[in-house]
Amino acid sequence: MNNLPESIIQVRGLKAGYGEKVILEDINFQVRRGEVFVILGGSGSGKSTLLKNLIGLYAPLAGEVWIEGSDLVVAKDDERLRLLRKFGVMYQSGALFGSMTVLENVRLPLDEFTPVPDEVKELAALAKLKLVGLGAAAQKLPSELSGGMQKRAAIARAMALDPRILFLDEPSAGLDPVTSAGLDLLIKELSHHFGITFVIVTHDLASIYAIADRVIMLDGRTRSIIAEGKPAELRASSTDHWVRQFFNREPDSAEFEHQPSTK
């Protein structure tokens, strides 16, 4: 049905930053429907800033962010609300509401935005939790969950209203490789079975190779995108020194000048 490489998100001439401080300039890219799109970059390269601009938390200094054919930047009131409901966001720490159980967390968007009867809402939330493998933890408080489970719960909550796009901020941060791989598998499944488009900010190489269809790489020094493509191709054939360095996990030579040579 959606096999066409139609773009679901379009970013045009985005300039992002905080007041006087410009972090990203003239950013252009498209995210295709149904793909797992990864935003890469070193610490301080503006990944999180870009994400916050994409999801409308911060207003860009200039440029456009089109989501499903509407510009989120200029959208107001009802139009903006409608756009916001087209995507779900999983924050780095999970950002589950600590005073509510996991089930209530997932139910909250349904309670607020849909006229569905309560009994059905409960089942919808439970099914979502089952989907992310948390069926048994529905009645627990977020503080009683492990880090990986919290992220799963956060994904279930982000999916509560069946969004077509999920933004994930650093899904593997603070997780062990096994848990992180489990999360990657979940992302793959959701992407495959539901055709959900994922936009993921990460710098976990293992998970990039496992899940990413396409990546863009940001660079803090040039404040721009320095690479775009499939991760394996970038690793093999990028001409950019910094991109190769990133994909091969080489340290910055400048930082190691003071260390004695291994020879």
């Binding site: 600590g98 006229p115 009867p117 809402k121 089942l123 439970l126 099914a127 529905a138 069946d162």
Partner: protein
């Protein structure tokens, strides 16, 4: 509503007299259309249905709310006695639908039934909570008194710069609010008491009264309560946030006792600054009272004479003693509540509230003890 949702979903419910029921769904079954067919489905509850067939072959779209409705039917919650079958789902949906089984639902519902506590249990819990809290307070007091003298003597370990910082934020920065509150309270008391005293021609004794009341009671109380509101809360929030951020753990693994590193400084600052704040509050309160007395037409020299004849050195000493004790209470309770902070988003807020409530409570209790002691000592 842009489009009429009824047109997007068609729900037919057929119930035969022998208890067979059939539900035929056609169109879009999503969060918007589920409520529309909800009412159409209600007859199933009454019908005493023993067999329910849900025909979903005509569905063009089904989101998770729609699936949840199918689950709801499938679990037999609409028709408890019926054997339910959901047929005709397209393969993709079928797979999704089978992903959530009745067993999953059972697993969820079992731990849900958590009985409410009976009254004796609630009372018991409350008593246990209070006694544990009391014990912790005593432990904390012991720990402070044990560690304070050796730390005070050791200049390096005491971190006087921290004491100075707290002294400034909790003491010096509190001067404006203490001034305002004390003057106003002095004014109010003098003004209110001048009227009944006028009936006896005893208005000049307003000066005596305001002097005694301010020096012995209200000066220390006002200073301490304002300190509780401004600084006990701040201490609890500071230490609580540090605990939540694991900063306290970081200190401990360095071999730095948070008590010695953070708490003693705050308590020392509290003990040093509260008597000063108390004297200041007393002075401002008397100033307010004097202003009223002058307004009543008495000469300043007479007022001062009345003041100096009524307020003795022992009264001033009592005020100062109260200041020291209240200061210790407020700063210690603030720190203790901060250290007791639990995890979670509301934990720091809870600690802050508890800090203010406990310190004001203890201030009043201590004040009562002071009054009784003073009465017997000066008899």
């Amino acid at each position: 509503m842009t489009a009429a949702p009824q047109h997007e979903l068609e729900a037919q419910v057929r119930i035969t007299p022998d208890g067979m029921a059939q539900v035929i769904l056609r169109g879009r079954l999503d969060a918007q259309t589920v409520p529309c067919c909800w009412n159409d489905l209600q007859p199933l509850r009454l019908a005493g249905t023993n067999k329910l067939e849900v025909d979903a072959a005509g569905l063009t779209f089904c989101d998770s709310a729609g699936l949840a409705l199918l689950h709801y039917l499938n679990l037999g919650r609409m028709a408890p006695q019926a054997a339910v079958s959901v047929i005709g789902l397209e393969p993709e949906l079928e797979k999704l639908f089978r992903g959530f089984t009745p067993a999953d639902y059972e697993a969820f519902h079992r731990p849900l039934r958590k009985g409410r506590l009976s009254l004796p249990e609630e009372v018991g819990n409350a008593v246990a909570e209070v006694t544990t809290d009391l014990r912790e307070q005593v432990e904390f007091l012991g720990s402070v008194t044990g560690k304070l003298p050796p730390t005070l003597l050791d200049r390096k370990r005491m971190r006087w710069s921290e004491v100075r910082r707290v002294f400034e934020s909790a003491g010096a920065n509190a001067v404006p609010i203490v001034s305002l509150v004390s003057i106003l309270v002095g004014l109010i008391i003098a003004f209110e008491s001048a009227q009944p005293l006028a009936q006896f021609g005893a208005q000049i004794y307003v000066a005596n009264m305001i002097g005694l009341v301010m020096v012995r009671e209200l000066g220390p109380l006002l200073a301490a309560i304002l300190l509780a509101g401004r600084s006990a809360s701040a201490f609890a929030a500071e230490l609580g946030t540090m605990k939540v951020n694991e900063e306290l753990n970081a200190l401990e693994t360095f071999g730095l006792d948070p008590m010695r590193f953070l708490v003693l400084q705050r308590i020392t600052a509290g003990i040093l600054l509260t008597p000063l704040l108390t004297f200041y509050a007393t002075f401002m309160g008397i100033l307010g009272g004097v202003a009223i007395t002058i307004g009543l037409g008495f000469p300043l020299s007479l007022i001062l004479h009345q003041l100096s004849s009524s307020v003795h050195l022992s009264d001033v000493a009592l005020g100062a003693a109260k200041g020291i004790v209240f200061g210790a209470i407020v700063s210690a309770v603030g720190c203790m509540r901060g250290l007791q902070t639990h995890q979670g988003p509301s934990a720091v807020g809870v600690s802050t509230t508890r800090a203010v409530v406990t310190s004001i409570l203890l201030i009043i209790i201590a004040d009562t003890v002071f009054s009784v002691l003073f009465f017997f000592l000066t008899r």
